[in-house]
Structures are given as C-alpha cells and as structure tokens.
Symmetry: C2
Subunit: 609 residues, 2 copies
C-alpha cells in the first residue's frame, strides 16, 4: 500500500510513512521529538498537534476525551491516535516538543512587515581619476545621497578604516548599510544584511539570526548564561559586580564572550559572517541589561532599586565588546523598573498585550518571573523572585533540560510514569518534571497542603528528611535513586509562592479575583513547557478552565525579533513601557500575608486555618 | 625719580621699571624674550613692538631708519630705542619674540562669539523614592528636556556607566555637557567645560586648552610629533604605515600618546582634569589626519593620491585612544585634497581668506607647505614638499628652535652677527637662522645665483665640500665650529624652490605675476619667525614691499580654536573647503621648468641664462 508524505511545521521536517502509521510514529522516524508520557496509548494527552492540510483518521475515544470539540474542529489531534490517510501538513506547537527542540522553534513565527532601522543601499561608484579626486567616503556619501531621501552624512570610524581597500577590492561596487543617516557597514554588493535578536536570561540565553531583508529567522540557538558560574540568581550576580569594577568587567566579559560565541555559531550554521550582522536587539531583565553594559548596579541592588537607565537606547556593539559589523549598534528596549526589564516589554510586544481588550494575565516565568495584568486598557506589572528551582538548581536531583532529564511525571494509582528528554536513561529531573512531581504528590495525598510529606508507600526516610522515590536505585547500585525530597518540595513552594504572590497583588490592586481573568498568557521556555493542569493544582496558576491559558514559548525572544525588524514595533515598545504601571511587591502593604498564603499547595485561599 | 609700569601684551607680563630705561630693558627684567641681534644698538631693527597706550620717548634716528612713518603712526617702535615716560601698555608681535615664547602667544588672539557645539546645562534633580522610581538617566534626560529647546535623548555609554554613583555623590546636582542631543559628559555642578584644539603637524604639534564658556585659551603648549622617530617626512611615515596594520597602529599610538600627554600637561598647568575636556578639534595635513585615525593610506600614497575622507566628521575620542571626557568627540575639519589638509582649511579660516577682496597669497610653511591664492573671490591651493630643512633637519649643524640655537644671522661688512635662543652659548642653528645665513651669504656675494659657494674669507674647504664658518671652534677645541656647508645651501635651495614653485604655478594658473599680489599672509610657527627680507632676497617669497606681508603665527591652531568655539566657523570651514580649487603640482604642465627656475637664489626669473 502506498505511503503518505507528512510535513512537520514549523520545524521543517518532511518524509514518507507507510499507510496505517500514526503521526507520532512519523514524528519518531523524522526525528521530531514529540512529548508522550504514556508511550502512545492515548492516555496522557500530551502529543497534541494540529493537522493543517490533508485527510486523517477519525478521532478516537481517547481523543474525544482529551480534546474539546472546538479544538477538534480546528484540526487539533493527538499524534499517537491519528493516522494520515493522505499527504498532510502538521503544525507542532512548542509545548508538544521535548525541551531540546524547543529553541529551534521559538521565535520563528513573527508576523511583521520588515522595516528595519538599518537600510541597505547598493551603489556603483566611479573610480577616482585626475579629473575626479573626491575622497572615497565623500564619493560614497554623495552616491547614497543621490539614492536616498534621508541625508546620509556620517560614516562610522571602523567602517571608514576599511573603506578604501574595500571599495578597490570590490571594483567600486558596494552595499552600504545605513542607520539613521550613518553608514554602519559597507560590504561587497552581494553581501547579506543580518540582524541578531537576543533574549538574555539570568540562566539561559537565546539568540536568533534574522535576515533583515525578508524578515525570516534563518537560525536560532540557546546557551547557558556563562555568568552562572558567579551565582545562579540576580542578587548573587549583582553582589559580585558590586565588589569591584574588575568583577563587573569580568561578568560583562563572560556574557559578551557567550554572545559572540552564539553569533559565531549561528553564522557558521548559515555560512554567514558576524560582520554581516548590522543590527542587534538584546532584551533581558534589568540586572542582566546592566551587567551586559557594565553599568553601575549598586543603586539597582539597594532600595529603592533604581535602574541607571530605562529609556530605550543604542550602544555601539564594539563599546560592549560584541564583534559584529564594524559600526553595528545594539538597541536596548526600554526597562520598566529595577526588576522588570526589557524582556518583559518584549514579551508584551510579542503577545500584543497593549491591545488586549479582555482581562489578561501574562507571565514570563524564569529565575525572575514578571507578571503583567491588563484590565480596562491599563497595564500593571510586578516582578517575583521565583529563583532558579525551575531551572533544576537547588533541587537534590535537579538538572537542566538536557538528555536524560525527567521532564514529565504522572502518578497513576500509586504507579510512577515518567518521560525523559530524548528517551534516554533517567539521570535527573528538570523543572517541568519537578513541578509535575510535586503537583502529583499533592494530588495523590502524599503531600499535605502545607507541603509536608507523608510516610506512605513510595516515601522513605533518608538521613534527616523524607523523600519520594521517582526512580529506584539500579540493581547493583550503579545509578543512585532519583527522588523528590522534602527540601525540594519547600523550594518549589517558595518558587510558586513568589509567582502566586505577584498574581494576587496585581489582582487585589485592581479589586479583581482570579475568576475575573479571561486569558492567561504563559511565556518563557519553562512556562511553555509546564503542565498547566499541574501548575493549577499546585496553586501556582489561578484555577481557571484550561482553555483560558495560552503558552506562547519564548515571547521575549520573539519580541526582540520584532524590534529588530520593525521601527514601528520599537516605537510601540517604548510607548508601552511608559504606559505600564509598576508595583514594587515588597512595598505592597499586604505582601507578607499574601506570600504566606501563596506558599500553601492547592488553590489560593484568602486565609488558611 | 619715580618709575613706570609697563604691561606686555598678549603675554600678560607687567612690572615697574626705572625712569630712563628702555622697553627692551623692561622686557629683559620681566622675562619677555625680545629678539635683538645688535644687542640694543638700534641697528638690527628686530625688536619691534607696538605701544598701545602711554607716553614714550620720541623716535630716534635709528627708528626713523627702520620704521615707515605709517608704522610709527600706529605706535610701532624699536624696543631698544624707546623709553617709557609714563605707565604704558605694549603689544609684542610673535615675530619679535624668541622661539621658546612663541607657542605661549600663538592662538591666543581669537575673536569669535563662543557658540560651541557642546552646551553646558546645570540641573538639580530630586532623589528617587518609592513614589518616584524613575531611572537615573531618565530623570536627567527629562530635566534637560525641561531646560532645553533641543531634545536631548541620548547618553553616551561611558557617561551612563559613571552616572549613578556620580549623581549620588554630587547630591543630585550636576552639570551635563550636551552635544547635538547627546550627553557627552556629566560632572559636578561646579565643573568646567573645556575644549582642546590641536594643530597636528608632521614635525610639531601645538595644543590649546580653551574654556568653552568664555572662549579664552587658558593654556597652550607645543611638542614634537613623536612619529618623527619613524621618518621626518610624510612619505616616510606613510610608507611605514603601509608595511602592515600593526605599523599603522604603532604610528597612531605614538601620536595619540603624545596628544594625551599634552592634554594632561595642559590640565595640570591649569588645575583641570582631562575629563573636563568635552570637545576636541584636530587639524593637520591629510596624511597626519589619516595616521591619527588609523585610516588606510595606500590610496593616499599612490597616484592619484585620494583621501579616505575629506568631509568634516566626528569621531569619539575614545575610538582613537584619546582620554578626555567619557563621551567627548573629536571634530575633524574637512580636508581639501590628498596633500592639502584640514590645517590649511583652519589657516584659511583664521585668516578670513574666504572673504579676502584683494589678490592674496597665503602660505603655511612647514615640512609640507600649503599655498593658497585668492583672486576675484576664487580660492586655489597647492601643496609643496618643502621638506624638513627649515626644522633644522638634514642640515649639518641644524637643530630645532631650542636654547642655544642660532636663530638670527647678519653679515655686516664681512662680520658675522648672530643671536641665539635664550642668549645661550651657540650649539647649532635652527631654521630661521639657516634661512638668514644663506640669504646673507648670497647678498654678500659668497654664494652665486646657482648656490655655489665662493672661496672668499670665512669660507673654507672641509673634506669634500666648502663651508662658511658662522661660529669658529672654541679655543682648545672643546666646541666644534658651527658652519653652513655647500650641502646645507643645496637643501635650502630645494626647500625654498618647492615653495616658490607652488607660488608660481598658482600665479600662472590665474595669469597673474608676483607684482599683482596685494597681500601675502605667512602662517605657521616657522613662517612667523622668518626674516621676510631675507626670504625675499633668497627668492622664496615674491619681491614685494614688506608692508604687503603679514606674519600671523600658528593660524592653523587658531583656526582649530575657532572651530572649537563656534558652530558658525565650522560651517564656514566646510563651505570654504568645498569652494577651494586644488592644483596637483606634479600634474602642472610647466612644473619641471618652474621648479628648476625656482631653485636659483635671488628673485624668480622666467628663464635663467
């Protein structure tokens, strides 16, 4: 029997499968790592995909159970249950992919008319001769003046340094990249005009290489923030930078080296050269922003926590050590406050938050979690010190989302089901797995509302604390057990409590309750990958129907790409940042009370007995 | 008998003398080093000063001989002949001062309404508090926005780096220096706003520290261009820079280190700090300009000798290694051609050449000499490779204008009269002394028109050539004789021939002869200090009445100061540079013939027998 071609978007993998095989099987064959906890039995409901074109088998009972009719109508299916009956095109949302493939996707889907701040202009010049002794730069500027409306009058000194030999080697044909009247790069006429968008997180960095001509993201990659060696959270980094200017310079060099490495890697992957990157947008929380630029941070680390700068601004890439086009700029989107940075603004930009007409809550979950509430056209934000527990830090068997990390956990009738990244032997547990585990322990009654672990089957005493055994020791003792300890539970309580406190303070500031929230947008790599049901069960997220939640991936990175591609989006980001209200959590009168309540597991209650 | 107070301007020395003492004696007492060859006998006529106020003795016979009645009417006198009869104020022109005092004076007399590109703005800010969490830079920018018409929206990254601790240490009062909407410096409210103007010559550098607030030059100094170790002329330097980028970088570092040293010295002298220098203007010939900025020079060193850039432009001081205010710019005035640089434009600016209504010839004599002819409103320039002979280089007993250098020479009835700088024991002979000596030898008939030395008394054979003994060996032979050799004469012939060639080519291009020239402006430290009569006798300068000559000192430096102080002057320089015609000497059809004729001593003739 003939096979069918299945096309997975936006990953861009495509191949033939035999008739009768499921989409999940097709995905496995083509190396598309779909989440599935139950091994394809249709019970976990995690392998959701959207069939865009092509005929497929009818929904199974399992699919009817896991998917609303409205979703089925839109083509949403479980990959393990659905068999193509013809060639078809399938959309894979980020949350259905395992962690390692996530950064490949995130940030790709940007819809904006490219209108970048750097304009390319091809020129063909006449060579100098005795009757035309104009200087090289004058010649170029005049040619650009003839072509453009805007008066181009300046040339970056580094561009100027390379101009004369360049023009001669290219036979007096060249492409100039012009930014607000300044030539920031000159290259051969066939050169590319690339941009780099970076989401600089406390823990992770994501970088996107963008073709400024057509707006496509040609490559993307993620990496750890190398500053992590100097402390996992913001406060540790700021303290380090405050020790001496040399320490501040060291922290800066670390992150800049990391960014240069990512840029070089992205370029290698696409046969480009970092010199072709003519513009960069970097977003990050305010502390990362300051450390990147080597600004003073004392005033940021101490009350009342004031940024050195919040307005959007431009810095020559070389002035912070980035090796890109000779005259390239880095554009920094505006910050909102000392602990609400430009990554939050970028997220708001990417999610169109300033135009939300409904009561909308948007969270960007990370080592620092920013939360924004939109109601009646007003935007208000808080920042929550959620800590690095969701990155696997400060968790006994915690690890980053790498091969072998347990990323999904389910407790069914006392039996542990889990899935590791890459299907490898389990070596530890990453953030989403920890969140799942704690929620499932609570739902199974192994944890009480206060987070105390009960000595039921599966739980054991180990030294001074209890722990739940997720994966027992290997026979022969070659691999130790992977467990969730009582202390791990406390860390998760602190983290989720911090986030929930932010949500509550925002709601109370507007006189709203969680039921009033019409939409919840969850951004960030981690936020995209969490099980919303488990997060609700923990009380981290409001108890709302799941269809009010939207997991949008690395929206901050996508916002950075938007600002890279569009002047209008930059203006929008600026206007939005000025408009957003900011509540300093610790300054909120009810803060301690709300925080205490937020740490309980289960739905948030005004007052605990 | 009561004394009188004499005030020497513009040096600013002032003191009492006894009745009956001459102005020369007063000058000696007050440390004002006036030129005098004859020791005060009224015979050399070099100690010219202008009595501005106060009654003085009547002119002596000697003064009536040396000074025209029109000059006497304007107060011009010989200092050795004139006795104050009351308190008086005396103007000392640069040419009457010995070399070491010249740079103190040059460039001081600038008349322009200060309107610098950098504007100072004092602000008093409120400190951040919980109800006003604006970022530090935002706070400053808003305060500046309230005060200024122009929108100040940018802040230099280096300024930003120091802003937060600065504002706190100054109690939220500060002075911001704003340039075209960008904050280039922020300091305490009582800070100064200084500018630096530099004339960067192939051999010498002159720097002027200027108070941008009131337009006064608060200090100035000169130094050798440290690149001289890499070759005395342009071609040698360019060749060196073309060897490799590292050599180019080395040459740049040398000159920048020299400039940083001068800036630091000027600041120390005036209790200022280089961080208070918020703007710099540097002028120089095109090669020095390129080497300073580390631009490619291959195209400048090879036909058709094209600059990398000619339009005026701005560079961050730090981008070329200058240590000034954190965000300070260097403004580079426009070049005219590969070998007519911004120093020439600055000279034209300082001498108001673009407004000259008469046929005017302007020369800036140096290692490279630029000559500009103005006739009927049109300006036309040439560049002459006059070489370093006038700097004392390539001359057997040549030396720079330092203590002990013979700077004036007269042959009277076969007797040698000379004067050394500082009145010290003679140790060599500097440019003006060499020019005097060759002219006097020619006028005395010891040199024929072709420059050949005749074996008359005073001339001796020494090895393979003849030489004229200026100062005989000391008895006992401790100090060798100081002589002018036949080869020295040849060097001077080449140098003056190059300059005269430039003048002739310009005149012929306009169909003029030397008699048509109504004014000759001689700029440059050396040009100011030469004896015009001797220069005419040599045939270096046109044979015109001496009252058509004006020696204006370091006009290039003064032009740089003007451009530092005034936006209008920058615009004028730009307009002028676009307007000037340029003749490439070597491309002139009659070049070789004119050059051959120009090398003869004595008045220029169309054709030598």
């Amino acid at each position: 029997m003939a096979g069918h071609v299945v096309d997975f978007e936006p990953i861009g993998r495509r191949g033939e499968i035999s008739d009768g095989q499921s989409i999940l099987e097709a995905a496995r064959r083509l190396g598309v790592d779909l989440v599935n906890l139950c091994g394809g039995g249709g019970t976990c409901g995690r392998c959701k995909v959207q069939v865009l074109t092509g005929r497929v088998s009818d929904p199974t009972a399992s699919e009817l159970e896991h998917l609303a009719q409205t979703d089925l109508d839109k083509g949403w299916r479980l990959a393990c249950q659905t068999r193509p009956l013809a060639d078809c095109k399938v959309h894979v949302p980020p949350e259905s992919l395992t962690a390692p493939q996530r950064t490949q996707v995130e940030g790709l889907e940007v819809e904006v008319e490219p209108d970048p701040v750097v304009v390319a202009c091809s020129v063909e010049l006449s060579a100098p001769c005795l009757s035309d002794l104009r200087a090289d730069a004058d010649r170029l500027l005049e040619a650009l003046g003839d072509k453009q409306d805007s008066s181009c009058q300046r040339i970056d000194i580094e561009v100027l340094r390379a101009l004369s030999p360049g023009l001669r080697s290219w036979g007096w044909k060249a492409m100039a990249s012009v930014r607000d009247g300044e030539i920031v790069a000159v290259g051969p006429p066939e050169g590319r005009r690339l941009g780099l968008a970076v989401d600089l997180g406390t823990t992770k960095m994501a970088a996107y290489l963008v073709d400024l001509g057509n707006g496509t993201t040609v490559a993307s990659r993620g990496a750890m923030n190398p500053q992590i060696a100097y402390g996992e959270d913001l406060i540790a980094r700021l303290s380090r930078a405050m020790e001496s200017p040399e320490e501040g310079a060291r922290l800066q060099r670390l992150v800049v080296d990391g960014l240069n490495g990512m840029a070089a890697g992205l370029c290698e992957e696409t046969e480009a050269h970092p010199e072709e990157i003519v513009e960069t947008v970097i977003v990050g929380n305010t502390a990362m922003h300051h450390l990147l630029l080597r600004l003073a941070v004392d005033q940021l680390a101490m009350a009342p926590y004031v940024s050195a700068i919040s307005v959007p601004h431009d810095v020559k890439a070389r002035d912070i050590g980035l090796r890109l086009a000779p005259g390239a700029y880095v554009h920094l989107l505006p910050n909102i406050a000392g602990y609400v940075g430009s990554d939050h603004v970028a997220m708001m930009l990417a999610t169109g938050l300033s135009e939300a007409s409904r009561v909308t809550l948007a969270l960007d979950i990370g080592t620092n979690t920013e939360v924004c509430l939109v109601s009646e056209g007003a935007l208000c934000s808080v920042s929550c010190a959620s800590g690095p527990a969701f990155e696997g830090a400060q968790i006994k068997h915690g690890m980053r989302a790498a091969n072998g990390a347990i990323e999904r956990v389910r407790l069914a009738d006392g039996k542990v089901e889990y899935q590791t990244i890459g299907g490898a032997e389990p070596t530890g547990i990453c953030g989403s797995g920890i969140l799942d585990a704690v929620a499932q322990l609570y739902l199974s009654g192994l944890l009480n509302r206060g987070g105390r672990m009960d000595l039921q089957p599966g739980v054991r005493e180990n030294g001074d604390q209890r722990e739940f055994v997720l994966v027992p020791e290997e026979e022969g003792g070659e691999r130790p057990a992977i467990t969730i300890t009582q202390k791990d539970v406390r860390q998760i309580q602190l983290a989720k409590g911090a986030i929930r406190t932010g949500i509550q303070v925002l709601l109370e500031s507007k006189g709203l309750t969680e039921g009033d929230i019409e939409e919840v947008i969850i951004a960030g790599a981690f936020g995209t990958y969490i099980d919303v049901g488990n997060a609700i069960a923990l009380g981290m997220l409001p108890s709302l129907p799941q269809d009010r939640f939207r997991q949008v991936g690395n929206a901050a990175g996508r916002g950075a790409v938007l600002a890279l591609l569009s002047r209008a989006k930059r203006r929008e980001a600026h206007a939005m940042a000025r408009k957003v209200g900011y509540i300093e959590l610790a300054g909120s009168p009810d803060f301690m009370n709300i925080f205490t309540q937020s740490m309980y597991l289960g739905p948030y209650r005004e007052e605990e007995e």
